[in-house]
Symmetry: none
Subunit: 195 residues, 4 copies
């Protein structure tokens, strides 16, 4: 029973881990309390959150906030080295970010049907301006018209996402190692950018 962390945070930690592992409905408030070091079933959770759903929202918000912080860092490696190096770093970074948000993605995928709006909003923030930013960057790099850059960004980012989805969302076995994937992905982009 780690009491160092404030109870509220311990509850969010416990809840998000359990939501990821067993789903929202599959996780009882009592189990969350127990995992957070409170007496299970005593309702101590309700001193920190208005409802179980409120707790879910708080957990998602915390994930999203952490993500925004990460995003700010990304800008740093724009323009580092040559085109191949930069795209490789971008790909690796994106995969790392997806790994970081694995738990959140699992929760969102599981709750998409029961809480459409909540999930849509969160995912829109997750994907956020990624595609537009990336498209703008590609337009710069390859001297492309905006529409073309946008289309390429969509196809390329989708490909990156799908490198993790089967494993994270469907428990499927990966079909390609990361390094080969990244190399092929970079090859593909470069051939599209350099005519």
């Amino acid at each position: 029973m780690t009491t160092s962390t404030p109870t509220r945070d311990r509850i969010i930690d416990a809840a998000m881990e359990l939501f990821g592992a067993h789903g929202f409905r599959g996780t009882s408030v009592a189990k969350i309390e127990a995992a957070a070091g409170l007496t299970p079933g005593a309702g101590g959770l309700y001193h920190h959150f208005r409802s179980k759903e409120d707790l879910l929202r708080a957990g998602i918000d915390r994930h999203l906030a952490r993500l925004r912080a990460l995003r700010d860092i990304r800008a740093t490696f724009t323009g580092v080295g040559d085109l191949r190096t930069e795209l490789t770093l971008t790909a690796r970074y994106a995969l790392a970010e997806l790994d970081e948000e694995r738990e959140l993605l699992q929760i969102l995928a599981a709750e998409a049907r029961s809480r459409p709006d909540l999930v849509r909003d969160a995912v829109n923030q997750l994907l956020g301006t990624s595609q537009q930013d990336f498209a703008a960057h590609l337009a710069d790099l390859g001297n492309l018209p905006p529409d073309r850059a946008n289309a390429i960004a969509a196809v390329a980012l989708g490909s990156l996402y799908s490198a993790r989805m089967p494993r994270d969302l469907f428990n499927a076995d990966p079909t390609l190692d990361d390094e080969t994937f990244v190399q092929t992905w970079v090859d593909m982009l470069i051939t599209l950018l350099t005519p």
Copy 2:
């Protein structure tokens, strides 16, 4: 009370639709019975399925069987027309298949945490030999070594899948219209295949 279809099939239909809309846990047996024209709460479902979980399995199996039938048809348009035409048809077909299996994918994504094995097995059947088949075909078309063909297939198929995932799994708004997506995807593949 539609009695034309056999009750067992009506139950599966109702169940899969409800599972897709509200999730497995979010769908009560009583609701399924009602939607299938049975008295809700009377347990009539249990004359056809041993448990709610058994019903889920039967529903997934039926989807997978339908999918296998579709797969057999696909082979028909291999080698039709030039490379661009063939890849375009392939992409369009893949998107159509994903649309067809939308309900199934939503259910699988939602249940991945609570029924890992069930979902893994189903997804392995869904993805099936797609990637290997496609890789072999690409190796043929572009005269590529197997490893390279496999890598390209992974990136390209992933990209296709991800054209639907945000919308189907996360309720996200589409970022690109289908036709542009397909064209860009074909461009990408062709530049990789024709050195």
Copy 3:
């Protein structure tokens, strides 16, 4: 699926065995039908019995009828040999009869609370006139006043019954082998009868 015996009898056989093993409530009509070679859950049982309870009554009645037949035979070994021989035979016979009616006794004990009248009636028939008959016989043998003979019969018969009850009704381990039990029981009676 033995079809030689009439269905009705097969149902009674199956039911009484299952009632004895799992209790009346613990035995579903479907299980009885299955054990009797009918389709479980199809209600074929109701062509032969008005209700599950009716079947129980029929089963008990059949046991009681069989018992009445046995009783008639008992009279045969009255007056055979000396006192010790006769009492020994009586004790052995009583134990054998209890063994024969083990299933019935178990059912009656289990249902005594839920069907008081049914059980009381059956047990009164089971114990029937045993005690009075035995008392009359003892009065003869020992030249005793009726009240005294009746008291001795009650104590002695009770002792015989209790040689089986712990094992048959409570799954308890027997504390004495039959032969020693019978000898001691006969000793006891003889000392009471021969002053």
Copy 4:
């Protein structure tokens, strides 16, 4: 809503009474809750017991504990007065104890088929070392070899038990009043002990 007694005890009381009256299966959790002053069907029982079966075990344990307490008292009247007085007291005490445990015996008899181990264990504790103790005492009193003492103890105790079984377990009418039964039982034992 009698709140004086702790809820847990009220639940046990209510449950054991209902189990005795209608059997374990015949008593619904809702009925127990209602009888204990809780809202029926609300599952308040599960804050005190893990399952209905757990409650049954707790009830049996409480009965057995009470019985152990009684046993300790019994030792006090060993060696009081002459042989006849002592045996008379023993018989009366045994009958009183059986009356005290009537509810428990009824429950055990009804559940013997469905919970064999539970019942066997409880009955072994109930009968406990009674027979061995009694046999040792008889060996003392009558100067008998152990085997003989044991056999007599089995026959005599069985006779005592069976003075209550027909009434308590089978709703049968008593065939002898207590006082006559005890006198006859003592007569029987004394003739066996004093050669």
